[in-house]
């Protein structure tokens, strides 16, 4: 049945192409999401000029539908030749065998468009490696760090952001003491899992134990981090509000309702566009503090992956090489604001001379991946659901974390079964 469906879809897709292959050129299908899908089209004429025998058809998919569409396409045997893949999805797509391992191609890659591991940020590259094999080439990178109001920090007696949790917390208390009961030191949306997870990773929590078979959220490493996180809400340093309660985060930031905000690089452009002109020299970015000194942040971003079912893998690899080259990475940054994955691109003046990017450059040297299990996205939503119950006082921190571990253990039940079956398979000769 999936075969028939796949053929039908294929027939439809081919009909949609309108026989543009009549001129003997190979048409590559690339899926890209949201804004990236829009702007990547502008890089294609140059690629087609360099490779006259190739054509690229970009299909733009909204982010909210992207993950479902990739899985559905896999079931329907209608995957594209290559696609942008959020790097937390790679474990899942690799587990179902949708993606092509790229090690041989990386080894065979040569100048001028050579793809080399050490051109990339190690923490980001790592997210693409599953059981020792590479399944994607980082396309752009992303991590979350602190955006802060310089003037409010100065009023509280700070010229820059502290590097340890203890000092960071003292600074937030000082800001809160000056700003009064209706204002806050930091905005941490309660419906984002990234913040507690990053703090947990900073404190050395593996998040999962038993080779990704069980949750490790009740263990001391995570619990300490979680208590630090929870304390920010309990002591009134952060408002207990989610993203949907603050429709436009730029207004309260400009009004000084909070001085710090943990968010990603997309907000550099948004801050420049949306904050009033007099605010523009009053904000800056800083790397995340850690328990004892500079801490890690989450390795985010998206990669380009080739699908196993593609019959044009060599051509698809050419497109990946092209999009990974520094010139294209810089153009892509200028078009989209997405930070380049290729470190050479960061030498370009447009990046090197941009003050808010310095913190990102520094932080990207210290990023860590989330656990590479296919179930991670599901676990991540559980993290914030349970964190929210503790923030809103419906559970103590111990209760929330125990409940979280229970849910995570249930989610990972199948994985434990498969792991133990694999272990037994190995034990038998």
């Amino acid at each position: 049945m999936p075969k028939v469906l796949g053929l039908l879809l294929l027939a439809l897709t081919l009909a949609g192409c309108g026989g543009r292959d009549g001129d003997g050129r190979v048409t590559l299908e690339l899926w890209a999401f949201g804004r990236e899908g829009e702007v990547v089209q502008e890089l294609m004429p140059e690629f087609e000029r360099l490779h006259p025998d190739l054509r690229v058809r970009v299909q733009q998919v909204p982010w909210t539908a992207a993950h479902e569409k990739l899985l559905t396409a896999f079931v329907g045997e209608a995957t594209p030749d290559l696609a942008q893949v959020g790097n937390t999805w790679i474990p899942e797509l690799a587990a179902i065998g949708a993606l092509e391992p790229l090690d041989a191609r990386i080894a065979g890659s040569s100048a001028p468009s050579k793809i080399a591991t050490n051109d990339h940020f190690p923490g980001i590259w790592d997210t693409n490696v599953i059981d020792g094999e590479v399944y994607g080439i980082p396309w752009y990178v992303d991590t979350r760090l602190i955006f802060y109001r310089r003037d409010l920090l100065a009023e509280a007696g700070y010229t820059e952001l502290p590097r340890t949790w203890a000092e960071w917390r003292r600074m937030m208390e000082a800001i809160k003491a000056r700003s009064g009961p209706k204002r806050f030191a930091i905005f941490l949306p309660t419906d984002e899992w990234q913040q507690p997870v990053a703090l947990g990773l900073q404190n050395g929590s593996p998040l999962l134990s038993d080779g990704g078979g069980r949750g490790a959220f009740s263990e001391p490493a995570f619990r300490e981090a979680f208590d630090f996180y929870l304390g920010l809400y309990r002591d009134g340093l952060a408002p207990a509000a989610g993203n949907n309660q603050i429709a436009n985060v730029y207004q309260p930031f400009a009004a000084g309702d909070f001085a710090l905000y943990i968010t990603g690089p997309w907000n550099i452009g948004e801050f420049r566009r949306r904050l009033p002109p007099e605010m523009q020299d009053r904000w800056m970015t800083a790397p995340l503090p850690g328990p004892e000194g500079p801490g890690v942040a989450l390795a985010g971003g998206a990669s380009l992956s080739i699908f196993q079912r593609s019959e044009k893998k060599d051509a698809a690899w050419k497109l990946i090489e092209y999009l990974s080259a520094p010139e294209q990475q810089i153009r892509f940054y200028e078009l989209s604001g997405d930070l380049p994955a290729n470190r050479h691109a960061w030498n370009d003046p447009s990046l090197a001379n941009d003050p808010p990017l310095r913190a990102f450059w520094e932080q990207l040297q210290r990023v860590a991946p989330t656990p590479k299990v296919p179930e991670w996205e599901q676990i991540a939503t559980k993290v914030y659901e349970h964190a929210e119950t503790a923030i809103r006082g419906r559970a103590t921190s111990e209760q929330a974390l125990a409940a979280l571990d229970r849910d995570v253990d249930r989610i990972l039940e199948k994985r434990r079964f498969l792991l133990s079956r694999r272990a037994e398979g190995r034990a038998e000769p």
Partner: protein
């Protein structure tokens, strides 16, 4: 079925029914059976990779489901959607139908169209407008409440208000359909009944109470069942308005829960169990509804 027909009549009847029965069998019975079978397995993302990774689970999915707090929360919300939203929709529809169908009303066609318009409007477009209405600071609803001295309510962000807000939207979106059915019902009531009642000195209320309502009862049965089943299957409203059932799952419905399990996490076996339980709940509710109204139909 008093006075059964001849065998030939029965055969003719069966022939006439055959196409419909065939379609129901193919597009309803077969999928239901497939879902039932699927619900006894743990078919998931690993099963996609290799069908050898799918296990027969017996009733384990159902047991997990019954032990899942989230499912009970979703079911509780769904019952509120159905038991509050359903009657509200029918009441709104009845009120609108009476107004539009009134002998005094002018521009009947226009009003009927206006009230029906939300039903045929895309929910995504509606959601954009309603999100503005519900906006905690700039929303129309809070401005109006502000005039009478009620402080701003965070309609979609506050777990206590999100579900009522969602029901309000759903009622507005759906009552037009029930209204059309009720107008149809109103127009089948013979005018002589009203005339004779008026001659006997009945006022508006007694006419409504003793003629309109009883004569509409078959229509109410149909409208009630259709509306309630619709609310049991509510999905699009929370899907587009609260990013999938938030805040704190206050607007999560069973279908949304099933969708997330099935298509977001690919726990197809588990999602199939949810689907089957929902099917049984709706079946039971519909049976109950018919049973409650059994007296009216004879």
């Amino acid at each position: 079925m008093k006075g059964a027909g001849t065998r030939a009549e029965a055969r003719a009847a069966f022939l006439f029914l055959a196409p419909a029965l065939g379609a129901i069998g193919l597009f309803f019975m077969v999928p239901v059976a497939a879902v039932l079978l699927l619900s006894f397995t743990d078919f998931d993302i690993y099963g996609l990779a290799d069908s050898g990774n799918t296990r027969f689970m017996g009733l384990a999915n159902y047991l997990t489901l019954l032990r899942s707090d989230l499912f009970w929360e979703a079911l509780g919300n769904t019952l509120i959607y159905a038991l509050v939203g359903g009657p509200l929709t029918v009441a709104m529809a009845l009120a609108a139908a009476l107004l539009v169908d009134s002998r005094l009303a002018r521009f009947k066609g226009l009003f009927r169209t206006i009230y029906f318009a939300p039903v045929v409007t895309t929910l995504v477009a509606v959601a954009v407008v309603w999100r503005y209405l519900y906006h905690p600071r700039f929303g129309l609803l809070n401005s109006v409440l502000g005039w009478v001295g009620i402080g701003p309510i965070d309609w979609l962000g506050d777990p206590r208000w999100a579900l009522p807000a969602m029901i309000l939207l759903a009622v507005w979106k759906n009552f037009g359909y029930a209204m059309i059915l009720i107008i149809g019902g109103l127009q089948t009531i013979p005018p002589q009944l009203y005339e004779s009642a008026r001659i006997d000195g009945a006022g508006w209320w007694r006419e409504f109470r003793h003629i309109t309502l009883p004569m509409l009862s078959p229509t109410f049965l149909l409208v009630g069942v259709i509306t309630a089943v619709g609310y049991f299957q509510i999905f699009a409203e929370p899907y587009v308005m609260t990013r999938g059932g938030g805040p704190l799952n206050a607007t999560l419905s069973v279908v949304l829960f099933m969708y997330k399990e099935g298509f977001r996490w690919w726990n197809m076996g588990f999602a199939a169990a949810v689907a089957f339980v929902l099917f049984l709940v709706i079946l039971a509710f519909t049976a109950l509804h018919f049973w409650l109204q059994r007296g009216n139909r004879e």
